[in-house]
């Protein structure tokens, strides 16, 4: 091991850390999952260092776990294995190029999403993949985790917004996949394999992102509903009315209380419009919403809407506080992540409610309802094994519910370690177990020595 560390030091110099207490910082993530200490943590500054690292890992049978901000929620970054080198991209944070004509940006993986968008806004552009963790989450992490976000209702997830990637694969080769143009038909779409691969196929060292212009004008409404079903009906009706929101977020009664809103279920709808069309769009939204709930605020600009959306942004904070209120520092909070077709939202919400009663779970829910993405958050006393067991069972059932309703066991947060069993169930339910086998074979194509982030996605 000493020899390996020497080799790593020769590559990274003072950007190699081996102190145990520092290593401990890189063995956990936002899901509260803990793992084994890595052997070392390195901070590459450029792709060449990553290549050297991979070659060293192959030679010495090391494992590599790439990470950025460690805000993952499905055990995507923690490892149980020995001989792991954690690779942090916190120092590769440059914006290499922004083209305001071609609408792309070339960036290093460590840059945070909010920072990137702040820079892009100077050009009137945006990278519209905005997880609720955007102030902390990095572009590289969002790509590797295939993340989505608040604007997903209109813009879709990360897979729609990456043009090209530069990556180092498990052979130590550098590959460049994709193009700088939106239309790109150069054989198999290897780039898309990387999106959502959770660090298991290779290390992304540069990304060429597809950008969208910032909206020219924006309107939004905030509505309150007495019950969740009218809210769901409203969302369905919006779709049926062919209104295409950019943002469609909701919180349930529990969360509403927690963030200081009045009694009820809340829905935020925001739409991009052409200047001059604001009134028409607001009228259309009002028509759908007024008959099912109460419109309590209207926004005529993106800035105004962002203010309205503040309570929604406090969803996570509120859930944490509720957990701490109940269990103090012994609280464990777990946020589930499924998606169902919007037409099944009502059914899903009711079923989750039933499951929570069945397993006696304290939970609160909010999420990106505009694309059927639900995030029930449940909390328990960490030291109470029985209660923790009920929570785990609850989440297993929620995943199965998603399968049953024709949705997905994982909408944004990926498989990591938490969802491996559910992934098997989903594949079986589709009569497509062979898919898991194919995934294993694909992993082998890119990572023949099993270097990258072992134990994730499929065994």
């Amino acid at each position: 091991m000493k020899t390996v560390l020497k080799e790593l030091e020769s590559i990274f110099g003072d950007r190699l850390y081996t102190e145990p207490q520092i290593l401990a910082l890189y063995s956990r993530e936002a899901s509260s999952e803990s793992g084994r200490l890595p052997l070392a943590v390195v901070y590459p500054a450029n792709p060449d260092e990553v290549v050297e690292l991979v070659k060293t890992a192959i030679k010495n049978r090391l494992k590599i776990v790439p990470l950025a901000s460690s805000t993952s929620l499905s055990g995507n970054t923690v490892t149980k294995e020995e001989g792991v080198v954690a690779v942090s991209f916190e120092k590769m944070v440059k914006v290499l190029e922004i083209s305001d004509v071609d609408w792309y940006a070339r960036v290093q993986p460590g840059i945070r999403v909010d920072e990137l968008n702040l820079e892009l806004s100077k050009y009137g552009l945006q990278w519209p993949v905005d997880p609720a963790s955007a102030r902390a989450a990095s572009v590289g992490g969002v790509i590797a985790n295939g993340g989505g976000g608040v604007k997903g209702a209109r813009y879709g997830p990360a897979s729609h917004w990456v043009l090209a990637l530069e990556a180092v694969i498990g052979t130590g080769d550098v590959i460049r996949v994709g193009c700088s143009t939106v239309k790109c038909r150069e054989g198999y779409n290897l780039m898309q394999l990387f999106i959502g691969s959770e660090g298991t196929l290779g290390i992304v060292t540069e990304a060429t992102l597809r950008l969208a212009p910032l909206p020219q004008s924006f309107v939004g409404v905030m509505s309150r509903f007495q019950d969740v079903m009218p809210l769901v009906d409203a969302v369905i009706e919006v779709r049926r009315s062919r209104i295409w929101p950019t943002v469609a977020e909701f919180v349930d009664r529990e969360v509403a209380k927690l963030v200081g809103l009045g009694e009820g279920y809340y829905l935020w709808l925001g739409c991009e419009v052409t200047p001059g069309g604001e009134k028409n769009m607001l009228n259309a939204l009002s028509n759908v919403l007024s008959s099912r709930g109460e419109i309590i605020a209207v926004a005529s600009s993106l800035g105004e809407f962002n203010k309205l959306l503040e309570p929604r942004r406090r969803l996570y904070s509120a859930q944490l506080n509720a957990a701490f209120e109940d269990y103090g520092t012994d609280a464990f909070l777990y946020i589930e992540d499924i998606a169902v077709p919007i037409s099944k939202l009502g059914e899903a919400v009711k079923a989750i409610e039933t499951l929570a009663r069945k397993y006696r779970i304290k939970y609160a829910m909010g999420g990106h309802i505009g694309d059927g993405n639900l995030h029930p958050a449940a909390w328990a006393r960490r030291s109470d094994e029985e209660e923790m067991s009920r929570v785990r069972q609850f989440y297993l059932e929620v995943g199965r519910l998603a399968i049953k309703l024709g949705g997905t066991i994982s909408a944004e947060h990926g498989i990591g370690t938490h969802k491996k069993a559910l992934l098997r169930e989903a594949a079986t339910a589709k009569g497509s177990d062979v898919v898991l086998k194919l995934m294993k074979e694909l992993k082998r194509v890119f990572d023949p020595y099993g270097v990258f982030n072992p134990g994730k996605i499929v065994d």
Binding site: E19, P20, Q21, I22, A24, L25, Y26, R28, E29, A30, S32, Y43, S69, S70, T71, S88, E90, K91, V93, G110, R112, D114, E115, S133, R135, A136, A137, R314, Y316, S317, L320, N321, F324, G328, T329, D330, L333
Partner: protein, 385 residues
């Protein structure tokens, strides 16, 4: 396990605090972040790590701006954890960087020390800006009468033996004029240092002693509505620990409305907030709101106005490289804005940002200037009663 340490377990590793932390922004290293520091402390508490020099270096590098507390969705009270840990590992922590500078600081931060520093200021370059200006002692021990209808009586915090205050005569006089003009009797008792520098450097007994003394001082003043601090977030945060009614001048004026007439101040100033004014006292919005009433004054926040300037707790000496990285960002921003000056809300910020070569003002000075420019009769008269 004390109550403060319970806070450690509230951290859920979400990472929201990372981009708020000036030391993490400057280094990109997890250990230089609030999340990392909390985890290191937790590791020590749980016996998984020992408080070695390597580990404590990360804690020592904290500028204690508490910006992370504002950002944390779990509400982790980072400051309480940090302070408790500092108490328990005082010697080890002080030995990282404080030990090299504390003797100088402790000697300097006295009446005689400050007198001497004025002469030898150039020898202590870091503190040069602090030891320039009019001596405050000519105001200490006096009570100034309210003008117009009397609204209340306040004690103005001035510590003539503190490096932050000794040479702030101009600022103190401005505060007295503004307060009396707005209807307050102003008592300027002889306070001693609020205690913040001692607490932050682990000298907890000293800070307790100072707190006791200052409380006694106020106890002898008779009825006092507020202890007023003139634009010093750090002092205010410290005083709030042992006084119930501590406010910044602007918070006070915002409460009752400011009196007429405000004249034009034709300056365009770049604004840097004080960490503690913003993160503890929550007074910074009042300052901006009140100054917006001053005709022809333009206040433009620095893009990183709410990120610590790295000027407190002897930081520029203890961690010159990180402080310079932080300052470099400020320099770049000031260069882009090209203001007439910089508006700061704390003496420590004044000291740090003076290095940028642009005039530095405090809000109270601006307000005072505005009243003067309006040619208010009797504004300049200070009646001692």
């Amino acid at each position: 396990m004390t109550a403060a340490y319970d806070e450690v377990y509230k951290c859920v590793h979400c990472g929201f605090c990372l981009p708020t932390c000036p030391t993490y922004l400057a280094t990109g290293v997890e250990g230089m972040s609030p999340r990392g520091r909390l985890y290191l402390i937790r590791a020590v508490l749980e016996g998984r790590a020992r408080p070695t020099k390597d580990l404590l270096e990360y804690l020592d590098a904290c500028v204690y701006c508490l910006r992370c507390e504002t950002a944390c969705p779990s509400g982790v009270k980072y400051g309480a954890v940090y302070e408790q840990f500092f108490k328990e590992h005082r010697k080890e922590l002080q030995s990282i960087t404080y030990s090299r500078y504390l003797p100088l600081f402790n000697a300097l931060n006295t009446g005689p020390g400050l007198a001497l520093a004025r002469v030898g200021g150039s020898l202590v370059k870091e503190l040069g800006a602090l030891v320039a200006g009019r001596d405050v002692r000519m105001y200490v021990g006096k009570e100034f009468k309210a003008k117009g209808e009397r609204v209340g009586r306040v004690a103005l915090f001035v510590a003539p033996d503190c490096v932050a205050w000794r040479y702030k005569g101009k600022m103190v006089e401005a505060a007295i004029r503004v307060l009396t003009w707005n209807g307050y009797d102003v008592v300027v008792p002889r306070f001693r240092c609020c205690g913040a520098p001692y607490r932050h450097s682990g000298q907890f007994e000293k800070s307790e002693e100072l707190a006791k003394y200052n409380k006694a001082v106020v106890g002898q003043l008779g009825r006092i509505d507020y202890v007023v601090v003139a634009n010093s977030g750090g002092c205010q945060a410290e005083l709030m620990r042992y006084f119930d009614n501590v406010v910044d001048v602007f918070q006070l004026l915002a409460k009752n409305g400011v009196r007429e007439r405000l004249g034009p101040v034709k300056l365009r100033l770049a604004l840097q907030h004080s960490c503690h004014l913003m993160n503890v006292a929550k007074a910074h919005t009042h300052i901006v709101a009140l100054l917006s009433k001053v005709p022809e004054l333009k206040v433009v926040p620095l893009p990183s106005a709410d990120v610590c300037c790295g000027g407190g707790a002897l930081y520029p000496m203890r961690h010159r490289d990180i402080a310079n990285k932080i300052l470099e960002v400020k320099r770049r921003e000031v260069f882009e804005i090209k203001p007439d000056g910089i508006l700061v809300e704390s003496p420590a910020c004044l000291q740090q940002l003076s290095k940028l070569g642009v005039p530095v003002y405090t809000p109270i000075e601006i307000l005072d200037l505005s009243y003067k420019n309006a040619n208010n009769l009797k504004y300049l008269d200070l009646e001692i009663g």
